[in-house]
Amino acid sequence: MLPYPSWLNPGDNAWQLTAATLVGLMSLPGIAILYGGLVQRKWAVNTMLMAFSGFSLVLLAWVLWVYKMGFGSPLKLGPGILGAFVGIPGAVIGHLGEQGQAHIPLLDGAMPKFRFPQATLVYFQFVFAAITPLLFLGSVVGRVNFRVWLLFVPLWSTLAYSVNAFLLWGGGWWAQQGALDYSGGYVIHLAAGTTGFTAAAVIGPRLARDRARATPNNLLLVAAGAGILWLGWNGFNGGDPYFSGADAVAAVLNTNLATATALLGWLVLDLFAGPQRKPTFLGAINGMISGLVAITPAAGYVNGLGAILIGLIATVFVWLSWNKLAKLSLFKRVDDALGVFHTHGVAGLTGGLLVGLFADPHMIVYLGQGKTAGFSAAGLFYGNPKQLAVQAGAALTVIVWDALITFLILRFLGLFLKLRMPDELLETGDLAVHDEEGYPTEALVSSGAAGIPAETPAADREPAADHGDRPAGPA
């Protein structure tokens, strides 16, 4: 007997599954506790539950129809970009779908043959698809109707994420034009920033009182979540060559270089130009995320110096966006609760455009062999100005498409459901929506069901403002 077929390479397969798991950890618990700690105390449970349920929803949609829309055969919708816009939907839950050799039809000949099974590729790409809604969750926390969230996530994955992924990674039209997105600066982060901002505008703001007092509830959990994000990013960018070779390692080191530079850059900006001239922890975390996001589209295409420069430029741009652009009236009107527009949208766009400048043709992604050329990319500073134009075009496509789809899905759901929770639920938060709270106080609750008749459905009760009247367990 043999453990695996001859096309399978255990080193590549092991790294790919490890990288996928690292990226999964960025969502659970990474984003769940980062956002769970950043929101007001009364929204910790709601935020974490949206993260866990969003992750689950994307997985089912992914294996049943969305994966093939991102990485399958093209759906011929028309000429030009329409012929390579999205893939034909299909399931990957059969034995061949899981154990057969991974294969992206439009990338045949453009990259080496995969050395792991399709289940590895499906799961690796799933964790990217899953973290994207969790990122834009940060824009709509503290007011979005939970039922709307449960419907919006699979619809958005189907209509928006599939297109982003197909255009840039599935061999679609922008990939054919040479657009570069190493690990999702556009597919994930620009998409999350665009979607979050649009959704925040359509759904409406939090309570004015909550916006004015948006105090985080646990900075230690924020530290844990942010640390998992940083180190998890080794899988995010290190997994995207699909082979555990030299470019994977370079991508990991470049990711860390850009991130450290961006974190320190934000710290220095806060120290010398911030409102209070004091270094802040949450500012440093914003810098860290800006660096991680900006290096994502570039990680294995640039050299170490390019990575440091990308981290530095991104942190300055996002800092200016966060502290100056956010003062403009449009940004005050739209309640992007955790600032996803800046740390993901602006950072992703900055990184995506900077690949067009810093991509170094000596950074080899795939080696050439015989008459077949290898693969690397050159930016404007290496004599290829066209790359910058292609990067701008791909960015514009993602921005326009994702904003449009987000607007349409929400307007459609708005026909049947209230997109925003009613004010009386918003005033109480977690206890009104889930009958749970982030920091329950044992001493102030009584056991049993005193005060609440067992047959009364939860939805019929008044939102409880007084925690002391609540029973400890289910009625």
């Binding site: 950043l38 948006a214 105090t215 409102p275 209070q276 802040t280 500012g283 914003n286 956010a326 600032g339």
Partner: protein, 113 residues
């Protein structure tokens, strides 16, 4: 013997000094409560992610101790000394105690101290 309730509201940072001073004068058992004092003169300012949040509610601690009336003057003096420095809103006051009963034994008055 008549009893008095001494109540002091002080800065949280002075709590240890005040309880030590009370213990040194023979009043080891003190009830301590965390509370917020409302002030129109002083604001607490915190910055989260570039956004400023201010509050006119400032953290303070409250100490309650029942003592024989004749000791009160010395104890108030000790509390005042131990609670310095103070921005100005710390207070000490007394109130008469009509009854004092120890729950476990049923002892009353000064025996219950």
């Amino acid at each position: 013997v008549s009893l008095l309730l001494i109540t002091a509201i002080v800065q949280p940072a002075r709590l240890e000094a005040v309880t030590e001073a009370l213990a040194a004068l023979g009043a080891p058992g003190v009830t301590v409560t965390r509370l917020l004092g409302h002030s129109l003169d002083e604001l607490s300012v915190e910055i989260y992610r570039g956004r400023q949040v201010t509050s006119s509610l400032l953290p303070r601690v409250r100490l309650d101790v029942v003592v024989p009336a004749e000791d009160a003057a010395d104890l108030i003096h000790a509390i005042r000394r131990a609670a310095q420095p103070d921005p100005g809103d710390a207070r000490v006051w007394t109130a008469p105690v009509d009854q004092l009963v120890r729950v476990r034994t049923g002892e009353r008055g000064i025996d219950a101290l």
